[in-house]
Point group: C2
Chain length 349, copies 2
């Protein structure tokens, strides 16, 4: 079946918001002009800054070749919305640049369904895009808005601040090992012993991460710094500390890793012996695909976390503190941890 | 030489505007936060809408494999700025998502030089991006601003409006034939007879198109509709007429093709006999890579064009009129033209 570019876009992705229509994009911001002109036109709330982020997903590199079209569509959007969440910004629109080797209607229908399932859940309109022929990749640009004084930047952490994370960590690492049929031998028995539900949960966390948009909005005016965990907790924390290093020189962190928030699958793994604990730590600390938020809080704000977690129905855990001493001091029940961890996900390294 | 993702971006593309710094981006709009956080933050002029466009260039499809890194960097930005120009919007910032098979420093330096030569000339800051490993492609998202009532949309053309184009048409088509060493036999002698300067001009028009940003701004409040010529004049005019079709039904156009604005190379070709004239028409009407603006004017505005062309140092030509009768009526010195033209550039067709 042959479809030209225009046919493709129309059939699977063009749901043009009418001029001046409130598309339900969060704060009732109208899309003045959607797909179909040289550019889309979007109105932002007065006094708010535009937040912009872009991420590309390449087949076989950012998702396994076995990933479904639905999951690819979901994830391409999710990782970009996660960046908007990490800025405390409200999503207002997204563009999708899609490069495809061929126009397979079933595959495109799946991709569209995954993309729009998340977009509709978050009230984010698709306002523009491009379709080209070539090796499969997707580049999403997400546009949000935030009052500039309330933006959650990376550079505001101060010594003594609490280091907190949302959700659970390590599930996507386990999910990737399952998806690639590459569970390390040392934990093969423990992973085999997991329930089907636990394995499905880990795969869902890998393929369909939840951007923490409501948390980002709730942390406005509370968190001193925030970012999403996309490259691995330790590497991302390093970025946050480096950005926050001020005239006082570099900052460090002490983490109490027994406080890492874990799903039941990772908890089971952590309790299965030394190999299990080390693998749990590797997945929780050095794999970034969980797309949770990492944020710092002034100590006085800690008491607000339980109510916030309840309101969002999302676990929020404090796992350590920012220190004046540089470097990462990792502890496990008080003992200094000296475990070799693979580096975070870096290209061209 | 191995460079990780962060090193690559820093070395060749990160020129972080400081917080609150006026980066010279047109109207003095500050980039609050550039590359390095989860998202960039940009302030738009109060009361203006955000204009957003995104286009992907895939190696071997949107540029010849022989194109230099400089030209690729220039063109990836130019085609997106051209879309902003066609909306009458002022560029405020761009993002670049770069997928590369390998990190070749010389090649990256060339790409960066081409990209920033144009970006600096137009005062557009690079505010974000992503670098991934994979088959070569570039996706740029360009962000501009425009008072919504002044945006140049495609849907405002009315019967009787003049149909105008900027610059010259067909050069990129000749340039592509030269770049691919694929000049049609019927015009081989005529093309061989061109001066080296004329051939270089055609190649430059292919590889380094000039986004008509100043023209887009000048047409605010004057043009009834506008778009850039990216898919071929006839195909793009068809899109404009389709978008402008109102309750009165579809619109058409009558074009006097002897008024097509041509460079000296194309003029020479058009004068070299029937084969030359037909090839000139094919390149001028059915190849879109010239990235000129196509716009419509109410008849009373025609008298303003010469002064505008002088002020911009850019030829502006009226080549026909919008008609109530649907379809394209193509004339060459009064005679109806019935020449088979290859379709515009369409993917998956």
């Amino acid at each position: 079946m042959a479809l030209d570019e225009f046919g493709l876009i129309r059939r699977y992705f063009q749901r043009v918001p009418s001029a001046g229509t409130d598309t339900g994009a969060g704060a009732g911001v109208p899309v003045r002009l959607g797909i179909g002109d040289d550019a889309a036109l979007l109105d932002l709330p007065p006094g708010e800054s535009l937040a912009v982020t872009t991420d590309t997903l390449v087949a076989g590199r950012h998702f396994p070749l076995t990933a479904t079209a639905f999951d690819i569509g979901w994830k391409a959007l999710a990782v970009n919305l996660s960046d908007l969440a990490a800025m405390g910004s409200r999503p207002q629109g997204v563009t999708l640049a899609l490069t495809l080797p061929e126009a397979d209607p079933d595959w495109l229908a799946g991709l569209s369904a995954g993309f729009f399932t998340l977009a509709d859940a978050e009230g984010v309109p698709l306002i523009g895009g491009d379709t080209t022929r070539g090796p499969l990749s997707l580049t999403v640009t997400a546009l949000g808005s935030v009052p500039p004084a309330l933006a959650l930047r990376r550079d505001g952490a101060r010594p003594g601040d609490l280091i907190c994370v949302s959700g659970t960590l390590g599930d996507a690492g386990l999910g990737l090992a399952l998806a690639l049929d590459a569970v390390p031998a040392g934990v093969a028995n423990a992973v085999t012993g997991l329930s089907a539900a636990a394995r499905d949960h880990a795969l869902a966390r890998l393929h369909r991460p939840s951007p923490r948009l409501a948390l980002g909005l709730a942390l406005r005016g509370i968190a001193t710094a925030a970012m999403d965990v996309s490259d691995g907790l330790l590497q991302d924390l390093g970025h946050l500390l480096a950005a926050s290093a001020g005239t006082g020189g570099p900052l460090g962190a002490r983490l109490q890793l027994e406080h890492l928030p874990l799903s039941s699958a990772l908890t089971a793994l952590a309790g299965s012996g030394d190999a299990g604990r080390e693998q749990m730590l590797a997945w929780a600390l050095a794999v970034g695909d969980d797309y949770e938020l990492l944020f710092t809080l002034p100590p006085a704000a800690e008491k607000r976390l339980p109510a916030l977690a309840d309101a969002l129905a999302l676990p929020l855990a404090c796992i350590g503190r920012v220190t004046e001493a540089p470097g990462l001091d990792l502890r496990w029940h008080g003992q200094v941890l000296d475990v070799a961890l693979p580096g975070g996900y870096r290209h061209f390294s």
